[in-house]
Amino acid sequence: MDTTHPGYEDFTTQFSTLISTMPPPFMYINDADAIQTTVAVIDNVLNHLLSAPGPSKISYARADAIACFSARLLYESIINALASWTPQWEDGAVNWGADNGVRWNDTFDGFVHGLRAVHAYLGKGKKKEGDVRLVVVVERAERLIPELMVPLTRLAELARVDLCVVFVSEAPWETIRPPLGASPDPYFFDIPPPTKEDIVKHLISKYSSHPPLKPLYTHFITTLCDVCYPFTHDPHELAYIAAARWPGFVKPVLDANKRDMDLDADSDSEEAFQPPSEETRMRLSRLFNPSLSLALDALYPRLQNATDWAKANEPPPNLLDHPPTNLKTVVPSDEKDAGITSLPRLSKFILLASFLASTNPPKSDLRIFGRGLDEKKKRKRRASGKPTKTKGGVTKVAQRLLGPTSFTLDRMLAILGALLEENDVDSRIQGHASEFSIPGEETDMEISRVAVYAVVVELTSMRLLTRTSAVDRLDGPPTFKAAVGYEMALCLAKELDVSLADFFWEVM
């Protein structure tokens, strides 16, 4: 019945047998790896059954629990889909049955009555009552609104019509099951992760553009899956990467072909396209294989979209004419870097101070930043070396792995003062030297300027600092958390010429 999705044959036969004969009132389909494919298969099966001759007419609705973020949206989408009703914008987007002034979307009871009404409406033309079977598919059921979970699982017994609820989810039922046995246990389907061969078959079957290139595409997909399958089993992700790489992969072949066509333009130009030779194929593979894993790196976490990536990594024209070289792959730069490196100097110091305040424990401040009167300048203090080992106890996890801790504004300003005193004093214009007699007095003045507070607020709005205390809290100093990471702090320190390693309490 369904040939486009290899690997689903067992599921398809069992599922369609159940739906077309006597479905259990509640089914649960769990697929952790390729939920989109599974939903497509379910759609296929049900669409096929809609038209199939059978004892009962089937009508089905599919609702996405993420899209239906309120109960009303869920009710409306299910009832409209069951009644094959599409709200029209021109008519004011009325729901099904709204013309007789009845609303099915206000409460769960209304929804249940609506289901019965749909059931009666669909069964009107039929000879026998109860000839209609409703199938309600809820995908990503783990995201359902909690109070709807139990009634939906009991929908068949509440509505008392021939109805089957199918949940499709990435999470196992045991983890989302409502407590106290509120829901009856479903009939389970566990979809195994797709195998590499099935994905390859599936992706190749989707190819439809240019028949002579199909062998090359087959080869390309096989290689791509060899490289990328260990990292993700989702056919959609692999197809996305393939879509980004294929234009570049096939371009040299097309270039070569175009040139050949130009050369013998006088002869019959409608001549069949020559598929590339085995040797060309090998060369292409060698050229492009390294870029496949880089494509995975950039595209799987969506650091870049497929179109941009394909554009940035387009091979040079007539690649096959050149002697074999390695293709350069453009790695997307982290855009956040650019924003931070162009910040003013004071902001960078504040970020650095906040990072230190978030990473070091408060009790270490005096030991790291404290300076006696006699050693007013640049006393380098080594970081405390290795973390103290406690015998038999649990080893402590480095703070940088646990995430930033929050600090009070005052503490951060004090650290800022220490940093400025050691690293910034020399760069100041020695204009008002006479006004300040005590060492560090000028820095003290600097850190209490309004500009410092303004910058803190600005950085917070840029989400480079995170405010952890409520904005309207008046008592006590406000608290913050650093949102820059270790790498970013290192980079900032380098620019400011601060030896950051000296200021860490733990070894980084």
Binding site: Q14, R103, A171, T175
Partner: protein
Amino acid sequence: MPPKRTSPQKKASQSLPIHLNHCINSQKRAILASIHHPQPLVEKEHDTNVLAAQQITSLLEGSVIRGEGNSCLLLGPRASGKSKLLDSCLEKLQTKPIVIRLSGWAQRNDRLALREIAIQLSQQTGTTFLSANDPTEEEIENEEDANPFLDQDPIQHATGSTAVLPPASHLPALISVIPTLAHPTVIILDAFDLFALHPRQSLLYCLLDTVQSCHAGQGRKGLAVIGVTSRVDTVQLLEKRVKSRFSGRTIRTGPPTTFTHWLGTVETLLLPHVRHDPDDDVDNQWKDAWAASIDRFLADKAVEEILNETFSITRDFRTLVRLLTALVVQLTPSNPFPLASQLQSAAMTQRARPRFPFLSSLSYPSMCLLIASVHSETAGHPLFTFEMLHDLFRAQVRSSTLAPVQINGGSIGMAFETLVTARIFICASPTSSNGAKGYLKYRSAVERDDVKKAVEKAGQVNMKKWLTKAQ
């Protein structure tokens, strides 16, 4: 269970003549139908459910025929046939009463429940559910006229023209009207214990008060309130004033008590009555073959063991239904008769489910993160952040060559998210919008042994070595 035991059956099930192919589909359909609408077995006289049926029937007859007010609690474990019993008793009644069905799962508060009562009443009694000469109705109507704002009540708009409802404030008065209706009424409260959890139990109070004050004669019709629940201490949940109005009658249902009864159920479910043409050779041939195969199937030691296990763990009829459904949908023309191995696999997916069945086929980065989480736990940190796992992973890659190495790029972060959506890693700290994602605390839902098995099954030597380092 050793698969060897199934071998004597194999030769019988190998092939099916082509002319019998259509029979298997009708057989499957018949079995699935019989599973969903099971015919009651010929039960013994003193069976709990038979007694319960008698009691319920007499109670209903009291209300429907003699106009009494009755209340009772139908108590029994899940899937012991409470609702089914009630339905069959209602069907057998001579005069059809008005049946109002409420469920604690759907009607989460008294307001919704009253609305639902009103809607169901008006559906079953026609356009108006209040008889014409009833003073209450006039009162309501007068008030409605007097107060134009009540027309704006959303409830009226919601239910629309087919069912004109009184305003919300008058809904409680509705219950006292019920005995004055033209027909006797049966109110079924499914998940009765949940109604008892509603604040002040006002709905239960109203209902039971009406039941208590409902006297036969005076031209009034009977009213029966039947609570259905599986919670044993439901009566203790009732407030004193509610409890004193409740009759205290508890009717119990129960699951089958003997294994032979259980086996008998299986046999009747698998051998449903299929309409046969007695003269049709093909049908007869098939019928005999099927009956013989079921005999063989049930005589198999392995089958009996699985069924016995199921009976010992749970006497839940629905579990049995799922088992048999999974067994029946596996039948194909090439493999037409049920096998013990099929029942075994059905039991694996439907009854004693492994928590994460496909752990061994996780993607490579996910598996690495799983091993890292085991390391983290051995080091005394059952709660971990993504950064901790990533750090462990990097350290491992640095110290040994863990094939296919991929540190840069986000595939490991994506793998972490996959594990989180599959609920293998469970968030252990409140999610906040301002905290960085990599520092949220998680714990692993997978036991160490399961990880070990999965890694062994995946068969990557490097990962196995890394895992064994966690002692």
